[in-house]
């Protein structure tokens, strides 16, 4: 056990799985870095350093730099997964899915079904998401609702270093294609993380707070925000459960429904664009399956239906904040 950043937790998960299983490989733009260049060989370790150090240990045969050809290399990861490797391919920012989505959703996601069960595609696509970096409209999106929409894909959103390591090891060992979303603003967050490998199963929500008045369901960076709110409101006598589903697909519907049954009130916090997102997904689930338990309207806390703006002042207004979450919780608690 030692303090590790979110970045280190993922790095360690990758290294440990690569040590354990020689079929695990890592690929992506500059994932080692410096390919063909005169300077340092392990130059970057990915654009934000998440894969740094893997190449020196595992060599360029298992840590592959790629040309900027996402369709080809993500597709190659799919094809490699279907033929015996366990590739972890990095799509640098999830915003780039538009140049390679076919290989993910029509190929990886459908092989097993289309081929009558006779395919396994143990692929992990690691990708950065989320706003808060002043990275503007094409480098700040969430987009996990799109992957969640697709049958055949699993979708993982870790909310802390501990979660990141366990979920990454599970993702690598999992036999289905997994989209693993890393919130760029969380990379430097630190907490105690076991040194040994461990897995966190998919489809099992984590209750980061337990309370009796309001259930808050949140994803990724919205989980620490929701915890803050829960801690603050606890002192005022509003007691919240915070549910971190960890994976949007599979979704731990049982836990969510149980929590709503207990509290009768629901706030869903989703950093993704508001239409057809996880906030709607969970709200609809509850409106269909736990309607009788609801004592108040469901509240969704999301950004507005706009692209992510560049200007810091606008971006700060765009992102759901603890203040907005708090207001929503107060509204349903008072209803």
């Amino acid at each position: 056990m030692s303090k590790k950043s979110f970045r280190q937790a993922i790095n360690e998960a990758l290294a440990q799985e690569m040590r354990r299983d020689p079929t695990v490989i890592v690929m992506g733009e500059d994932n080692a870095g410096g390919m063909g260049a005169p300077g340092e060989d392990d130059a970057w370790g990915g654009v934000l350093g998440v894969t740094k150090g893997l190449m020196p240990e595992f060599g360029r045969e298992r840590v592959l730099d790629t040309p900027i050809s996402e369709s080809a290399f993500i597709g190659a990861a799919v094809g490699a997964a279907a033929t015996g490797l366990r590739p972890v391919a990095e799509l640098m920012f999830v915003d780039f899915m538009g140049v390679c989505f076919d290989q993910i959703f029509n190929q990886a996601g459908k092989f097993k079904y289309m081929f009558g069960g006779k395919a396994v595609t143990p692929l992990v696509v690691r990708t950065m998401f989320g706003a808060g970096f002043r990275a503007a409209s094409q480098h700040s999106q969430c987009l996990y609702p799109i992957f969640t929409h697709i049958p055949g894909l699993k979708v993982v959103i870790p909310s802390s270093p501990y979660e990141a390591k366990g979920l990454m090891i599970q993702a690598i060992r999992d036999d289905d294609p997994v989209i693993f979303l890393e919130h760029k603003v969380l990379y430097d967050d630190e907490e105690e993380v076991p040194d040994e490998p461990y897995t966190i199963p998919f489809g099992e929500a984590n209750l980061t707070r337990e309370g009796s008045d309001v259930t808050i369901v949140a994803f990724g960076r919205m989980v620490p925000f929701s915890n803050q709110v829960a801690d603050k409101l606890e002192k005022e006598g509003i007691s919240c459960t915070v549910v971190d589903p960890r994976t949007t697909s599979p979704l731990d519907t049982d836990t969510i429904l149980e929590c709503v049954a207990d509290t009768g009130r629901l706030v869903v916090v989703d950093e993704a664009s508001p239409r057809c997102n996880m906030a709607t997904d969970i709200s609809a689930l509850v409106a269909q399956e736990a309607f009788g338990a609801l004592k108040a309207p469901i509240k969704m806390v999301t950004p507005p239906h706009t692209p992510v703006p560049f200007a810091p002042q606008l971006e700060d207004l765009y992102i759901p904040t603890p203040e907005k979450i708090e207001a929503a919780v107060r509204a349903v608690a008072g209803a």
Binding site: A77, G79, D102
Partner: protein
């Protein structure tokens, strides 16, 4: 000529099986027995068979939407295929894929693909597996002339080159993508494209099994010995429409009749091997009869085979969920 008598007989049998299979699917589709979109490979047999004769169990192929021929050439079971095309439970894909997703990974056939250009990236991956695990395998991407303009294909040319992958790209140019002529849609040439990405490219007459076989042998050896990717531009014709139901108004009057008479891969093969006294016509006729029987059985079995059951709808989405 490096082909034994057995090889030649196998080549002919595979080509005849494809032809008979496709002619029969054409007839049965017209009668209404087969659902969905069906793209037939009749006329292109020498390509799939000429290439796949060079492959073994270590090797993988990815196909196009026009996948039946590649399946047969790579050793998939025609009966399982026919059942699949009929949407039956015992089909190669349990009836869930149909003609457009027909596949048998156990035979190294990574699937027909409903997405034009879907296959080349996958093949880079299969080649990467072979290279990483040092299986000695190579991987072949079949692409149409239309598919050669898809970005996924072009990126794969480059990726295979810079990763030095044991890949062979086979561009099957049948002159059309749907109704659009390849003479129009393909800027430059396939061979030059290959060379421009740093790999060898050749052009062959795809009606001539031997020409395809020789080009493929070189390309497969090149890949297997670690020299990386290469491309074969195969010129050939399709006997039927783009899909079943296509009236082919875009083709010249008499075009199909002419090519069936003058450029038929099976006929050319028969003439060549009999004139060179490599095989007797009788032997070939015997194969024809056997194949016909096989396909008759395949259709009969497919027609009466049971469809999937309600429970099948929900299985095979995930390994675990």
């Amino acid at each position: 000529m490096q082909l034994s008598r057995e090889d030649l007989l196998k080549a002919y049998r595979d080509m005849r099986t494809i032809r008979e299979f496709e002619d029969r699917v054409h007839d049965e589709f017209a009668k209404g027995g087969i659902p969905g979109f069906v793209h037939l490979y009749a006329g292109e047999e020498a390509s799939g068979v000429g290439v796949c004769m060079n492959l073994d169990d270590r090797d993988k192929i990815a196909s196009t939407h026009r996948g039946h021929g590649h399946c047969i050439a790579k050793g998939c079971d025609p009966k399982g295929m026919m059942k699949e095309i009929y949407g039956k439970r015992d089909g190669l894909c349990g009836g869930k894929g149909g003609s457009m997703h027909i596949a048998d990974l156990s035979r190294g056939m990574m699937g027909a693909n409903g997405i034009v250009g879907g296959g080349p990236p996958l093949v880079c991956g299969a080649a990467l597996t072979a290279k990483t695990l040092k299986t000695g395998g190579v991987a072949v991407a079949f692409v149409g002339d239309g598919g050669s303009n898809q970005g996924t294909t072009l990126e794969s040319f480059n990726l295979a080159r810079v990763w030095d992958l044991p890949v062979v790209f086979v561009v099957e140019d049948n002159g059309y993508a749907e109704s659009t002529a390849s003479a129009w849609s393909v800027g430059g040439s396939q061979k030059k494209r290959a060379e421009a990405f740093g790999m060898p490219g050749t052009e062959v007459d795809g009606h001539d099994f031997f020409a395809v076989y020789d080009a493929a042998r070189q390309a497969v050896e090149f890949a297997r010995s670690g020299d990386g990717p290469s491309l074969i531009h195969v010129k050939l014709d399709r006997h039927y429409g783009h899909f079943e139901g296509d009236a082919m108004t875009y083709r010249a009057d008499g075009e199909v009749d002419r090519l069936r008479q003058e450029r038929d891969a099976l006929q050319i093969f028969r003439t060549k091997v009999s004139e060179a006294k490599l095989l007797e016509i009788d032997q070939l006729d015997e194969i024809d009869a056997e194949v016909k029987e096989l396909i008759d059985q395949a259709v009969a079995e497919a027609e009466t085979a049971p469809p999937p059951t309600e429970a099948d709808l929900l299985t095979d989405v995930y390994v675990s969920y």
